[in-house]
């Protein structure tokens, strides 16, 4: 069993609700174990705050195994903290040193308004998917799953794009708060599979239009999104989306 011996200074963004102004508040924590996850360290903080009669810090989290995409902390200037390919919930305190000061902020983007403290509203992502991130096939209309062979390489590439967890780290880290990596992952997944072909060009146009409407910024290819993505979603997807978009706009006769 581990015993905690780390002392930390936390600077945490506190904001009452979406309309009020927020600020960084300092907290001292001691007895933190290196085996704790970053969120378990926040559990300790909250337990302390509740005992003292203060309001605990609100943060989003759910599965705590790196797949639901709900946790979303901007830690020391990086989404999900300093480690590559890891979500906040899978970041462990052994990545920090005794005596460290850790600054924790919410995702910041116009399209992700802060709800409270570290929790933000990412419903813009749902609306982008609702605009076209699907194959229009009603239940019960499918042919046999093996009727259409799909080359393994293509299926694997589609899977890699589909591994996106929709956490929004790409938006959070992008200097322009652009959502291109998120949108392109879904566009790519379906563009790579035969099942996605009938709506391929319609889909990319609808999704990009919705993305623009939500107020995300524009992609300037800095590559920060790819570097910070906990699931390693590749920039190739953005290029593929661009390509499909131009094909749709210039070659397709369908107005979307």
């Amino acid at each position: 069993m581990s015993t905690g011996n780390m002392n930390l200074t936390l600077k945490v963004w506190r904001q009452k609700n979406k309309n009020s102004a927020g600020k960084l508040v300092d907290y001292q924590l001691s007895g933190i174990s290196p085996d704790m996850s970053f969120l378990e360290m926040f559990d300790v903080l909250n337990e302390q705050l509740i005992t003292k009669g203060e309001e605990p810090v609100v943060f989003d989290h759910d599965c705590r195994e790196g797949i639901c995409g709900m946790c979303s902390m901007f830690i020391n200037g990086q989404p999900h903290g300093p480690k590559d390919l890891v979500t906040t919930c899978q970041l462990h305190m052994r990545s920090f040193k005794d005596g460290d000061t850790i600054v924790v902020e919410p995702w910041r983007a116009k399209a992700f308004p802060v709800i409270k403290d570290l929790a933000v509203d990412r419903s813009a992502f749902d609306r982008i998917i609702a605009a076209g991130g699907f194959v229009s096939v009603n239940t019960g209309n499918a042919q046999d799953a093996n009727a259409l062979p799909i080359p393994k390489v293509q299926a694997d590439a589609a899977f890699e794009a589909a591994a996106c967890i929709g956490c929004g780290a790409c938006v959070a880290t992008c200097k322009n708060a652009s959502a291109m990596l998120f949108v392109s992952a879904k566009v790519s997944q379906l563009a790579l599979l035969p099942q996605g072909q009938p709506e391929r060009y319609r889909r990319v146009q609808s999704m990009v239009a919705q993305m623009d409407e939500e107020g995300f910024g524009n992609c300037t290819n800095t590559g920060a999104c790819e570097a910070e993505c906990p699931k390693g979603i590749s920039l190739e997807n953005i290029a593929r989306m661009n390509r499909d978009y131009f094909t749709a706009k210039f070659a397709s006769e369908e107005e979307v």
Binding site: D35, M36, D62, S123, G133, G140, A142, A162
Partner: protein, 659 residues
Amino acid sequence: MSKLNSNIPEGELTQKWTKYKSSIPLVNPANKRSLEVIVVGSGLAGASAAATLAEMGYKVKCFCFQDSPRRAHSIAAQGGINAAKNYQNDGDSVYRLFYDTIKGGDYRAREANVHRLAEVSVNIIDQCVAQGVPLAREYGGLLDNRSFGGTQVQRTFYAAGQTGQQLLLGAYSALERQVGMGKVQMYTRHEMLDVVVIDGKARGIIARNLITGELERHFGHAVVLGTGGYGNVFYLSTNAMGSNVTAAWKVHKKGAFFANPCYTQIHPTCIPVSGDHQSKLTLMSESLRNDGRIWVPKQKDDPRKPQDIPEEERDYYLERRYPAFGNLVPRDVASRAAKERCDAGYGVGASKLAVYLDFAANTERYGRIEASKQGNHNPDKETCMRLGREVVKEKYGNLFDMYAQITGENPYETPMRIYPAVHYTMGGVWVDYNLMTTIPGLYCTGEANFSDHGANRLGASALMQGLADGYFVLPYTIGAYLSKEIATKPIPTDHPAFVEAENNVKATIDKFLSINGTKSVDHFHKRLGHIMWEYCGMARNRQGLEKAISDIQALRREFWSDVKVPGSADEFNPELEKAHRVADFIELGELMCIDALNREESCGGHFREEHQTEEGEAKRDDENFAYVAAWEYKGESEFELHKEELNYENIKVAQRNYK
């Protein structure tokens, strides 16, 4: 007994569903447009049901407590989904899947339900592939399969170690498509806090907007729960932090029976607890047991590193005890075997509550095959391990990464340490063949109901059941009820039943905020978890269960007098949300112990120490306990047992044998 009618259709088992499906009354398209259905939960069962119902033309409202339906905990399922496709030509069939599921469930599931599940399993794979779910494929372009516990065929479809994620995102995209078309109204960050029953029928829910704290009343001609399992009653489990029993418990208190609550699945391969700070446990997919061998040292407290312990001093206890199935015995069997070894003092790691899951042998085997492919027919061990690691990485890379992340150890170099942890709950809200609860108009799907897994669920069957219920069963069977509701006009939400339900919820919230005690909600949750794990976990006995019941009752009293819920009701207040959930877990925990006490036999995930064979295997009592225990809520700590007899007409009930 009179209250329980499972409504299983007449006829021969293999024809029941086909015939019944063609005879369910239909609702014409114009009428569907005016019928409203509320779906609570947006996981595999909820999202697939909401999407399909909307596609059929019903007006749907869907609720989830997370910030997006895509976050539901189905997303964390790793290993795969079963389907009787027989793509591997290994003799699989609908009957075999049906048989394996009944046997795996230790003969405590309904034949008709399970057979239907096996029948529609093939449609699920077709549907998901059509949605663009990228399931794993072979070079020929066809779908790949792997084996899971409790079966001797390869029928598990998968997408790396993220099958649940991919299937959920498929259902989510179908759901969002309907949201975009305006046919589903989605309510995210909303939690159902009560069901509204009018004239004996479910007519709506009370939901709390978690951002504003506002209580909302929603009407529906029918209400469907797809709210998942209650494993978090143990505090530490592989469930998500938010997974809860609240919706299911509220309907139970309003008249829905709760069935087999004591059937809990303890998953054998989870990362062991590392300390008191632990907030949840992480599963290492069962698929790892395809290539990992489980062992402990033959010597107690062996101080050597696992790599240094020679082959002959290792006890591969699963292979020893169950030579036919070896490391792929069902979960309940594997978990108990691990507990047996650790209790006997052979555990490993700092806590001594762990066993090794070792990939070295198979890594070497894969490496040898790879080397041979490259023309090297006499490779040295190092080459084999190097090449084999690449293969293992391809198959399980994300799981190995996750293990390394959590433990700080490299599983490619040293065996994983694993220990059983609470994973799934077979029990749940009692439903009939139509998936309707004992409250007319209230349905329950997926893990939240009790229906298909008996006393133990086989691996890769949860995804199958969630999607079967949501895509292919409920959307048909709900027609039987809704076809009679076409004349029912939407009931205004100022109806006294809505007002009363909302007032009750409000009173509970006010109570939470007014106690102003000294201990946090988590404090009580942890204590509840300890009681449950200690006395109602992998092994149970009369004395322990009786103690647990009185401990839980005491804990409940303490909770209601000393809990501290900070903040207010009209804001985003996660502590208040937790308070609701833990209050319900405490009551459920008591019922679980009562159920476990009542079931004087061992079966599947329920192991009573008083009832075991000489070899330490679970001993069923089919004479007296071949029934579903459905509990009716009668008031605080008062539950009435109703029995639904289980009749096996097609399967010969036998002692499970995996030897």
